[in-house]
């Protein structure tokens, strides 16, 4: 058996958290070092994974399979393919960067980093687990640390936001659990293996598929989040501390989209076809509605949070397309949105750390006082509004392009979202950076080196994918075309 790279990636943070558990509370520096090393180890391994990944093959790679609960035929089964490899990298990268960005945490550091690393493991496990039970377990493991991370280190309404997040996502995921069980019992022989189910799932009758699809949908839609299940998101994002907002928006939302890619669509093919119109409509609503609501926000962070709702609409739209282009767009949009929004939340954090307010109207003219910050903010805002040449564009473009032949009107309306998005991001830039200098912030300092360090890797990725999208697309193309073929979608 070869080196179990995925196991190492998934459990490196957990090992770190166990170490932290036995580190004295007072020794904050050691705790930080352990956390950073653990996430860095996972990052290095995932880079290695990217290097060794054979992207011309649609098959599952680096598979690890060991008996786990034989009596119910559940296996410890990990693997990575083109769909998950990017998200694994995204998770490790953001975990690492957000870990560096966590130095602003001033209280209860031991607990913080312990939970933080636990969260990392949960997220990574979700993206690698190929057994439903394992997948569900990791999926749920994410909830608890997140609850604490928002609830303890969050903002003013942290308790409300934390419990809301918890209940909301749990409510979604219990239905997913029922869906998993239903899949298990409808398969012969009974299995939880996602790959096996992908082969056999199509044999189910449409009505059964639809029921199971809805069960999974409830779980995933809350995470994505899809209108009208999105209201936990602004609260959670706004109240969470910066690094956690980064992970929330950067990784957690992707878990829902990933679920669609990994489970709902490949296994429940007929139901997926049955539901593409609602998907497209919901995607459109997400895009337009999210953008319009974002426009009305006066709180910087809330605006970015709603922009996530809007952007995740493109994922839904791309999924609805049933075309390789749309799928590629949707998957890439998840990655890109992860990178860009992570950057945006870091930038919100930078500003909040200095000004202790996020009210957009209270700023103005910061472009003079914080030129580097202004540049960074502009680039990420532009990437977010889909400026060609930066990464956000290409994925939104492909989503829309893929959806166009199936849903013309919806695509047209959705592309209006691009205009609204441009509107609120530029309005945000105008209110923060442009205009006359607000004297209140005359002493504000520009972004510092550590903060830059967290942003620059993201910036580089944004630019590279924007200029040469194949650099990211190449990992997923083979897997996506296999998926489309499997689904009987349009392969262009």
């Amino acid at each position: 058996m070869s080196f179990p790279i995925l196991t190492c990636i998934v459990f490196a943070p957990l090992a770190g958290s166990m170490l932290i558990l036995f580190t004295p509370k007072k020794n904050v520096n050691l705790i930080k070092v352990i956390a950073t090393l653990a996430t860095a180890a996972a990052l290095c391994l995932s880079v290695l994974l990217l290097i060794k990944f054979n992207y011309s093959s649609p098959a599952m790679q680096f598979e690890e399979k060991a008996a786990w609960i034989p009596s119910i035929n559940a296996w410890y089964h990990l693997g990575a393919d083109g769909i998950s490899v990017g998200l694994i990298f995204l998770t490790t990268l953001l975990s690492f960067l957000a870990c560096i960005g966590s130095s602003g945490i001033k209280i209860r550091q031991k607990e913080y980093f312990f939970l933080y690393l636990l969260l990392s493991t949960g997220m990574l496990g979700t993206f690698t687990g190929l057994d439903m039970v394992l997948f569900y377990m990791f999926w749920e493991i994410v909830l608890v640390p997140m609850y604490f991370l928002i609830g303890i280190w969050g903002g003013q309404r942290k308790e409300y936001a934390a419990i809301k997040f918890f209940i909301y996502t749990l409510a979604g995921s219990v239905f997913m659990l029922l869906g998993i069980l239903a899949l298990y019992f409808t398969s012969t022989p009974h299995t939880f293996d996602i790959l096996e189910l992908t082969k056999t799932g199509g044999a189910l009758t449409l009505s059964v598929q639809i029921l199971i699809f809805i069960a999974f949908y409830l779980g995933f839609a809350v995470k994505v989040p899809v209108f009208p299940f999105h209201t936990w998101l602004p609260d959670a994002h706004v109240e969470a501390p910066t690094p956690i907002s980064v992970l929330l928006a950067g990784v957690l939302l992707k878990m829902g989209g990933y679920g669609f890619f990994r489970i709902s669509f490949p296994i429940l093919k007929d139901a997926a076809h049955y539901f593409i119109l609602p998907f497209a409509i919901l995607g459109m609503i997400n895009i337009i509605y999210g953008a319009l609501v974002a426009m009305a926000q006066t709180d910087f962070k809330k605006m970015v949070a709603y922009s996530s709702v809007s952007h995740m609409g493109f994922v839904m739209l791309g999924l609805a397309s049933m075309t390789a282009t749309g799928f590629n767009g949707a998957l890439l949009e998840m990655f890109n949105h992860g990178i860009i929004t992570a950057g945006m939340f870091f930038l919100v954090g930078v500003l909040y750390d200095r000004a202790h307010t996020r009210e957009l109207d209270k700023f103005g003219g910061l472009g003079v006082k914080m030129p580097v910050y202004a540049g960074m903010l502009s680039v990420f805002a532009l990437a977010s509004l889909g400026l060609p040449g930066l990464s956000g564009f290409i994925s939104e473009f492909m989503s829309l392009l893929g959806t166009y032949p199936t849903f013309k009107l919806i695509t047209i309306i959705s592309s209006l979202g691009l205009i609204i998005t441009a509107g609120y991001f530029l309005y945000m830039l105008q209110r923060i950076l442009l205009g006359p200098v607000n004297e209140k912030w005359s002493a504000i300092s520009d972004i510092n080196k550590r903060e830059l360090l967290t942003l620059i890797p993201l910036l580089i990725i944004v630019v590279i994918i924007g200029i040469y999208p194949l650099s990211a697309l190449k990992y997923q193309i083979a897997a996506i075309s296999a998926l489309v073929q499997n689904l009987g979608g349009i392969a262009f």
Partner: protein, 639 residues
């Protein structure tokens, strides 16, 4: 030497990268880097041009994007149209950057300015070289971005910040159309390259729609009606920016786009006619606004819109060569006009023409250049504008659109009028406020001189005097070359008459008259004047029709989100809590009540039990017992 064409945009981009990273250390030398990069690009452009003349052409570079089955292979397009445009852009760009050294010398963000300028050069050159819709779209947005950045370059001014946003969003509306047009084309032809356009056949309605959607992009970028509102506001940017981006190059990209897709438009005449009429409306409307506006740059901005409209007319009537020819000449004289305006503003620190006057003798070079450019745009022979406008007029007449011909003629009349209104009010007469005009520094003056030379002579390649070299170089199809070779003396005559008429009216109204604009005339046409002066109320209309509803919708949705959706969820949560309380309450009250009731029922059997009081344990027991009874009943009834 064509094979280096793809390097053209790279040098300015490198300059941008260097300046954005190390700009603060470089300070003044930023300009040198930026200009050097432009000059290197210019050199390569010349080499490419040379190669093109030798018969080399477009080539492919690498796979850029793969949709399943279809690989998008990007390359560069090297043909007469692109090469000419490249030459124009690189030349004017370099000159304006030199000019900017003087103009921007006091600015604290000097190097940032040059960084943006370099980025713009890179994007614009890339746009011209793009050989497919996707890369074109990328650079298209890239120039839009630079436009945004440079319009709001002095972002401390709230108006500048707003203008930038307005420009970006307005053009983006057009871009959304362009994007959809690209989708439509892609799904009909499965091809995104320009070279495939000429092969399109069938589905006329579909392709006409596609063409119109693409034209939407052009409308936004070239500030055509109804998306023209952003360009006048864009004048908030530094004047070199207005000259380069909002006069000479970027705004012409819309015209370039239509020219680039001319094969599609030409085979789908309804779209082409639409182009012509949009152009005509724009031309005459903008020209009329220009006649009453009092801001020197805004007058020029409306003039630009009007001239772009003229180019659209040219394309719309099938005058491919004529239109591109006007594009080239216009680029030079309009850039020159802006630079002159910039020079004047730089020295008198105001843009209000009402406050200027009689500065010609203090600024001879600028003044002369201004006059040359005005003559060129007014269509006075033998300046460049005369030849190119004449070509367009000829094409209009030949195509048989009398309405458009009349509109174009009126536009020309108005053009001559407002240009000379400017000249008379700004350069001549008496100063109307305290002014201390002085000639601008050499870095600013030299580009003026060079551009003046272009403004005078650029018309010659397209004139019969030089045997219509231009038309023989850039043409669409074969027959056009032959057609446009013969000078049409009727049209020439009308053009000349119209030009001089316009100048004459301006002279009569503004030089002979003591007042700026005689009250009597203004009073007679109050309604019309107000309409024109307020730019036909288009901005207000948009505000009323789109912006406010959008804002209201946004607010409404936000409220909806907060109250209704969240409210619903919270309500169900509180329902649970309520239920919980209710259950607890039921436990303590209803159960008791039931107990009372049943106790009474039992009490009817024996009157003794009436006074029975229930205690809590017994209520528990009763619940349990009644539960059991219920279960038994269910069992017995249900079988």
């Amino acid at each position: 030497m064509v094979k280096f064409a793809h390097l053209i945009p790279i040098f300015p981009f490198l300059a941008f990268a260097i300046l954005i990273l190390f700009g603060r250390k470089l300070k003044r030398s930023s300009a040198i880097i930026s200009i050097a990069a432009s000059l290197i690009s210019l050199l390569i452009v010349i080499l490419t041009f040379h190669g093109l003349l030798k018969g080399q052409g477009s080539y492919k570079l690498f796979d850029w994007l793969v949709f399943n089955g279809i690989t998008l292979r990007v390359g560069v397009i090297v043909d007469p149209l692109t090469c000419t445009m490249l030459l124009v852009v690189a030349t004017i760009g370099s000159l304006i950057q030199v000019y900017s050294i003087g103009y921007m010398s006091d600015d604290p963000r000097f190097s940032r300015f040059f960084a943006y300028m370099s980025l713009f050069m890179a994007s614009m050159l890339g746009l011209l070289l793009a050989d497919n819709f996707v890369t074109l779209y990328m650079f298209w947005e890239g120039v839009g971005l630079c436009s945004y950045l440079l319009i709001s370059f002095w972002f401390e001014k709230a108006s500048a910040a707003k203008a930038g946003m307005k420009a970006f969003i307005t053009t983006r509306i057009g871009d959304a159309g362009l994007l959809l047009g690209i989708f439509l084309l892609f799904f009909s032809t499965h091809d995104l390259s320009f070279s495939g356009l000429s092969a399109i056949t069938g589905h006329p309605a579909l392709y006409t729609t596609a063409a119109l959607l693409i034209f939407c992009g052009a409308i936004g970028k070239s500030a055509q009606f109804p998306l023209h509102v952003w360009l006048p506001d864009a004048m908030e940017g530094p004047t070199p920016v207005s000259a380069l981006i909002h006069a000479a190059t970027m705004v012409a990209a819309g015209v370039y786009l239509v020219a680039r897709c001319f094969a599609l438009f030409f085979t789908h005449q309804p779209a082409l006619v639409c182009v012509a009429y949009i152009g005509a409306i724009t031309a005459i409307m903008a020209a009329s606004i220009a006649t009453v506006n009092n801001d020197i740059k805004r007058v020029l901005a409306y003039s630009t819109i009007s001239q772009l409209g003229l180019m659209m007319i040219g394309l719309g009537v099938g005058g491919y060569s004529a239109s591109t020819f006007h594009l080239v000449t216009h680029a030079f004289f309009k850039a020159l006009l802006f630079l002159c305006a910039g020079s004047i503003i730089h020295s008198v620190h105001t843009q209000e023409i009402n406050k200027m006057g009689g500065i010609f003798h203090k600024m001879k070079i600028t003044g002369t250049a201004f006059i040359i450019a005005s003559l060129a745009i007014s269509g006075v022979p033998p300046f460049s504008g005369f030849w190119s406008k004449d070509e367009i007029m000829t094409e209009i007449l030949r195509s048989g659109h009398p309405m458009i011909f009349i509109a174009a003629t009126i536009t020309n009349l108005l053009t001559a009028f407002y240009m000379f209104r400017l000249i008379f009010l700004v350069l001549f007469g008496k100063p109307r406020s305290e002014l201390h005009p002085h000639e601008s520094p050499k870095t600013m003056a030299i580009p003026l001189i060079i551009l003046s030379i272009f403004a005078i002579f650029m018309g010659l390649p397209g004139s019969p005097l030089m045997n219509n070299v231009f038309q023989r170089f850039i043409y669409f199809g074969a027959e056009h070359t032959a057609l446009s070779s013969n000078p049409d003396h009727f049209v020439m005559g009308i053009s000349v008459i119209v030009a001089f008429l316009g100048i004459g009216i301006a002279y009569a109204l503004y030089m002979l008259n003591k007042e700026i604009l005689s009250k009597s005339i203004r009073n007679r046409f109050t309604g019309l004047y107000d309409l024109v002066y307020n730019k036909y109320y288009v901005d207000e209309l948009y505000e009323f029709l789109f912006i406010r509803p959008c804002a209201r919708l946004s607010k409404a949705f936000s409220g909806f989100d907060l109250k209704v959706i969240d409210g619903a969820v919270n309500a169900s949560a509180s329902m649970v809590v309520f239920l919980s309380k209710a259950k607890a309450w039921i436990d303590s009250n209803i159960v008791d009540g039931t107990v009372n009731m049943i106790a009474r029922a039992v009490g009817m059997l024996s009157g003794e039990l009436r006074k029975m009081q229930t205690g809590y344990i017994q209520s528990y027991l009763l619940t349990a017992f009644m539960g059991l009874i219920l279960i038994l009943l269910l069992k017995i009834i249900g079988g």
